[in-house]
């Protein structure tokens, strides 16, 4: 596992270099996201233009990806984000990075810009640049097919961009397989700017395991721990959609931009999907949870369409936020964003905002290419808008550079309704009633994003004696509380940094069930698989180092400080209109939020302005960065 190589590719010169990754570097940054962040900080010159040759695109497999670990399928793609100017980072499941590891590589560092469209062909220790002129213009389903035919191997895995990436839409995604997407922060746009259409990979090399017998035995125990639970029984049937009904009924989902916090129309619930459209389950590499759906629409406007997915976020972004109550439109829209390579999180958010403006009379048909963006018309306009954005056509061109720029272009006070943090579009949940979620989204190094820290179990009302055993400190069982939540978010940030660096799926961690694996289990898995002995405390330190490095990157590139760690003003002033009693009439208390921020910064070793303190940098060995070790 430790003998995978790193490949450096210059698209400008065509030069390819390969190197080993020293164990000393692994002990500091592990792999996946953590090591990608190190490479980003070291290889990107401060202030580089995200769409220029100076941006560095990083593709990374996790340290344990492809191993006998629960959910070991994840790929991490990073660069400087063209949407936010900050850490660009996205993570996806599927089969890509396992294949990259079998091909002998863990990380690819892609620099420069190609004159003509190219794709990379990575095969058993070799990296080749190939002409992609004939692939430019193909969607993300056609591209892998064409590459497999050209190279004569059905088992080639492909990471590619679609029309959105080619047209430099700032929230274009990267795609692999039928539906896996690295959505957030516009990594597809970076690929498009480099004229890099795809990375194709095929591997038949061995991946060594340090202690195979112990690894298999412990893996068996972990599988049982996870898969014999009620949570797994449910998750393997409903997938991530499992979260929809509890959060919608509770009243913490955004509806009509931020108009409502619960969708009372129950058309979009998993049971309807399972009954009418589901064709069963499929899985990512090495995963026994098989939470991914396969679906088919039999008749009607989209009759004959079939695909994989959807996820919970799909329902939030292409359902609730834009007030679309048609399952078939959700599925057709998901299929479309997959084909054109557009981030549905960002797209749903910006479309929800545009519709909000329209319904408030701030914009009208003269702005929207004559489209009627009435909430009731959502399912008619959604797919049209998505295409326009991907092709930078008409109103789509106004939206294609992200919500901050779109608000500047439209003016007329539209920015008050524009929901984002640090330029990244707001998450699908309405976090006004839940301080822990709010803190996590406000401080995430990507911008408005829940995956740096989401403490989903904070909603379960777990008693303090229980959380004390789980985290090592008690967390208030009240999800309206501000006290103890900074500690919770800090803890989860470290855990998810670890999980993303190992290349493991968060759905097989304490994300969805308090009984699932976390630090201790990963410490053992790392030891059996790689031989690296890293204690829980050492793993937390590594995670702390990676996370602070991300914060440092943001500070270096855009001077991100405390001022940027807040949700939009509305979250602190406008009460939620509905929900259960704990979520109704709620908004964030700014003073208490500030107290949480103070505590949160202290936990990370940052000053009261949210800047990493010099002594923290020394302690984490970040004072030497950029250190150019690899």
């Amino acid at each position: 596992m430790l003998h995978r190589k790193i490949g450096y590719i210059s698209l400008s010169s065509g030069q390819v270099k390969k190197a080993s990754i020293p164990e000393s570097v692994r002990r500091l940054y592990l792999g996946g996201r953590g090591l990608n962040m190190y490479l980003l900080f070291n290889h990107l010159e401060q202030g580089a233009d995200p769409l220029g040759p100076g941006n560095v695109l990083l593709v990374g497999a996790g340290l344990l990806t492809a191993g006998p670990v629960p959910g070991g399928s994840r790929t991490d793609v990073a660069a400087k984000s063209p949407l936010t100017g900050l850490v660009g980072d996205t993570n996806m499941g599927g089969f890509f990075s396992p294949e990259l590891r079998f091909a002998g590589f863990d990380h690819l560092v892609i620099k420069g810009v190609s004159e003509k469209p190219v794709y990379l062909w990575v095969r058993d220790g070799e990296i080749e640049m190939r002409d992609a002129t004939h692939l430019w213009g193909k969607d993300t389903l056609e591209t892998p097919e064409a590459i497999r035919a050209e190279l004569g191997d059905e088992d080639i895995k492909v990471l590619c961009i679609g029309a959105a990436g080619e047209n430099l839409v700032k929230f274009a995604n990267v795609r692999t397989g039928a539906k896996n997407a690295g959505g957030r922060t516009g990594m597809g746009c970076v690929m498009g700017s480099k004229k890099l259409k795809a990375v194709a990979v095929r591997g038949t090399l061995d991946i060594g395991v340090k202690y195979p017998r112990e690894a298999l035995e412990y893996y068996w125990q972990m599988q049982r721990k996870i898969l014999d639970s009620k949570t797994a029984s449910l998750f393997s049937v409903e997938g991530s959609l499992m979260q929809y009904n509890p959060t919608n009924t509770t009243g913490i989902l955004r509806v009509k931009n931020l108009g409502l916090n619960r969708m009372d129309d129950l058309s979009l619930t998993p049971d309807t999907f399972l009954e009418k459209y589901s064709l069963g389950s499929t899985a990512c590499f090495g995963c026994g949870m098989h939470c991914r759906h396969k679906w088919q629409i039999k008749d009607g406007k989209y009759g004959g369409l079939r695909g994989e997915g959807p996820e919970y976020y799909t329902l939030m972004a292409l359902g609730n936020v834009v007030y679309n109550t048609s399952w078939e439109t959700v599925l057709a829209a998901q299929y479309l964003v997959d084909k054109i390579g557009l981030d549905l999180a960002e797209a749903g958010n910006i479309i929800g905002w545009a519709m909000d403006l329209y319904n408030r009379g701030i914009i009208d048909k003269s702005d929207t290419d004559d489209l009627d963006l009435d909430w009731e018309n959502s399912s008619e306009v959604l797919l049209v808008l998505l295409e326009k954005i991907a092709n930078r056509e008409g109103f789509g061109a106004v939206l294609a550079d992200g919500i901050r720029m779109a608000a500047e272009r439209i003016g007329r006070g539209s920015d008050y309704y524009a929901l984002h943090v640090k330029g990244l579009g707001m998450v699908g949940t309405d976090d006004r009633a839940v301080p822990s979620l709010a803190l996590g989204v406000a401080t995430s190094t990507r911008g408005a994003d829940h995956l740096r820290s989401r403490p989903a179990t904070d909603l379960f009302g777990l008693p303090e004696e229980f959380t004390e055993k789980l985290y090592g400190f008690p967390v208030s069982s009240d999800y309206n509380a501000y006290q103890t939540k900074a500690k919770l978010i800090h803890y989860m940030e470290l855990l998810y940094e670890l999980v993303d660096s190992l290349g493991v799926c968060k759905y097989q961690t304490i994300f969805i069930s308090p009984t699932f694996p976390q630090f201790e289990e990963y410490s053992k898995l790392i030891y059996y698989l790689t031989g690296l002995g890293l204690s829980v405390d050492e793993l937390k330190t590594i995670a702390e180092r990676c996370y602070t490095l991300e914060r440092l990157f943001n500070y270096r590139e855009k001077g991100i400080t405390r001022n940027d760690d807040y949700l939009p003003d509305r979250y602190y002033t406008e009460p939620t209109p509905s929900g259960v009693s704990k979520t109704r009439g709620k908004f964030l208390d700014r003073a208490k939020f500030d107290e949480m921020l103070d505590e949160y910064y202290a936990l990370h070793g940052w000053d009261s302005n949210g800047v990493p303190k010099p002594e923290t940098l020394v302690e984490l060995r970040l004072d030497k960065e950029p250190s150019h070790m690899i």
């Binding site: 039928a178 061995d206 991946i207 395991v209 690894a215 298999l216 064709l279 499929t282 590499f285 949870m289």
Partner: protein, 164 residues
Amino acid sequence: MEKVILIDPEKCTGCRICEIVCSLTKEGVINPTRSRIQVVKVDPVSLSIPVVCQQCYDAPCIAVCPVGALSRHGTTGMVNHDRDLCIGCKSCAAVCPFGAIGIDTSAEKVFKCDLCGGEPTCVKFCETKALEFVEASTLSLRQKRKGISKYTELLQRDTGQSAA
């Protein structure tokens, strides 16, 4: 008691855990191309079908082997591959109708499923029971029950009666 690996492709989710644990158990490394069982994915319908040695009664591989490295053991139900006798001519791999015999270019031999000595690892780790290790004598009875369940469902639907 002769037992066989029963494959139900409808239950296979394409997770490849069988490939991971097989190659790790038999070769000490993770490498799907060195796994004795391999899953073939049929895009775009997302169909996954595990393929493994069927331990044929009238095995073409046994018939074609020039040195007698392949033979059948009556009681275990297995087609046995003797690595010491194997000369790596690859005729068995070419003639197997399932493509279930692999070629190990570094060892210069072929490899095939040996049922892990009676406790197949792939079966153990398959979470959806797409792979089961069942007695050959009861296999057809199980399939009968599975087959007629379509009729019993039909009956239930048309008459409103329970088929119990």
